[in-house]
């Protein structure tokens, strides 16, 4: 899947954090994938996690349980990802 399959994108400080977040989300019945960072978002490690915005709170909760730091959250608006927090 690519980033356009998702309406929310979570970015992290490095590839290690992306893959750690993926490991945490695995098996939690959440729709997500590791996707290339959309071109309008500046994150040099190249990878991000795409999720559905309706599951945003669940994802944030799961990650915060593991004291996991998300560098940025972006929402898709009119075909572009805009910084949400």
């Amino acid at each position: 899947m690519d980033s356009n399959s998702f309406d929310s994108i979570l970015i992290f400080q490095n590839i290690h954090s992306v893959l750690k977040a993926e490991k945490i989300l695995k098996g939690k019945n959440i729709f997500y994938d590791v996707v290339p960072v959309p071109k309008e978002i500046d994150s040099s490690c190249g990878m991000a996690i795409g999720i559905k915005s309706m599951e945003m709170d669940i994802v944030k909760n799961v990650l915060s349980t593991y004291k996991f730091e998300v560098k940025g959250i972006y929402l898709q608006k009119n075909g572009r990802f805009i910084r949400y927090e």
Binding site: N14, S44, C45, G46
Partner: protein, 381 residues
């Protein structure tokens, strides 16, 4: 020619598990891209390999945050990072008399350069260290305790847990070059603050890959800086781990091999390897004790030893023995000083050295029998 007997596993383990060769081949033939540098599929595959290897290491050593494990080329590089960067002018450190030159050489260098004060806890002639002796040397400015987890000369294990209890909050750097993969290591239970390990000895991986665990309470400046694939817009080195200490493209081929060997170790279990090692060491020592011309060094209690045994034979030098075993019997060992003059001074075998047999997971009693027979023949010639 006799069938090859490899008893030099303390130098590097051989043979390697099939998993090591398969994983290296898989990486090089299918996704040998640069991890964490791009958004394409192959870079992601390579990134996943590096991540998985770090997670396996954290499981093996009971480390809760795998980002605090950084990849280096070997234990020597890991130890050098700590000694050269963590220690500052006029600090005091305590180490032991059974350290390898990977510790003593950088220590003696900064002793002069940064006026570091070094106290050495002496092991006895059997290579045993009394943990209470550390207490006598603790000063207000003691910054670090450096401990060789097991001597590469005597094989004797240092009681790190007991030492940590005695030194309290002073950080401990454990040199696990001879122990990672052959005795269980639990950084939480043992209170280890810095763990230096290499991939190519008992972890059974390829050479050129090792690592350093850096505890939450430890911080120091990176020795090298550069591209990390993160924060690329900034000319400032990232502060977060592992990126802070991992500039430049990693040795992913080595990491792939280590990933394969860690999977083998997880499946086999270090506890089982330990039991097998103890059994074979006990068998080996008992057979050596039957040879009148042979002297064995170090405490003989197998509970206190990793599977390596140093000996000398009457009227033979260790290098002569090593040469004869190789040329005449196809048995690989190591003679001399094993890059650890301090340890040899401790057991009074300096400067002549010893002959070291170091077995590994793939050795058997048959290998020991052949070696004993060879030693017997040499002693009679």
């Amino acid at each position: 020619m006799n069938e090859l007997v490899y008893l030099d596993n303390a130098a590097t383990s051989f043979p390697k598990p099939e998993e090591v060769i398969n994983k290296i081949t898989e990486y090089l033939s299918r996704y040998a891209a640069n991890p964490g540098r791009s958004g394409h599929k192959l870079s992601l595959e390579a990134g996943k390999l590096v991540f998985e290897t770090r997670e396996l290491l954290s499981e093996l050593f009971n480390i809760s945050d795998s980002s605090r494990i950084i990849f280096t080329s070997n234990a020597t590089e890991s130890i050098n990072y700590v000694i050269n960067s963590f220690l500052k002018e006029n600090d005091h450190i305590i180490t032991t008399s059974v350290e390898h030159n990977s510790v003593m050489r950088p220590l003696r260098f900064i002793e002069r350069k940064k006026h570091i004060k070094i106290d050495v806890v002496k092991a006895n002639r059997d290579g045993l260290i009394n943990p209470y002796h550390f207490k006598e040397f603790i000063k207000e400015n003691t910054k670090l305790i450096i401990i060789n987890h097991a001597s590469n000369v005597t094989g004797v294990i240092t009681p790190v847990e007991k030492i940590k209890k005695i030194v309290g909050n002073i950080p401990v750097l454990l040199d696990a070059a001879q122990t990672a993969g052959c005795i269980p290591i639990d950084v939480k239970k043992s209170g280890i603050d810095l763990l230096a390990f290499t991939g190519h000895k008992s972890l059974l991986g390829p050479s050129g890959i090792g690592g350093l665990y850096i505890g939450n309470n430890i911080d120091f400046e990176p020795v090298k800086m550069g591209g990390t694939g993160s924060n690329s817009e900034l000319e400032k080195q990232p502060e977060f781990l592992p990126d802070k200490f991992e500039s430049g493209t990693l040795n992913v081929t080595g990491i792939a091999g280590l990933c394969g060997s860690l999977k083998f170790l997880m499946k086999t279990k270090v506890e089982n390897i330990r039991e097998k090692d103890k059994e074979l060491s006990g068998y080996f020592i008992n057979k050596l004790l039957e040879l009148e011309t042979v002297k064995i060094y170090g405490d003989l209690n197998i509970e206190n030893r990793v599977p390596l045994i140093s000996i000398n034979m009457k009227n033979r030098t260790s290098s002569e023995l090593c040469f004869k075993l190789d040329k005449e019997f196809n048995i690989m060992t190591r003679g001399g000083l094993h890059c650890a003059p301090a340890a040899h001074k401790t057991i009074l075998t300096f400067p002549e050295g010893t002959l070291r047999f170091s077995s590994g997971f793939f050795n058997s009693e048959k290998d020991v029998d052949k070696t004993i027979e060879a030693l017997y023949k040499i002693s009679k010639n």
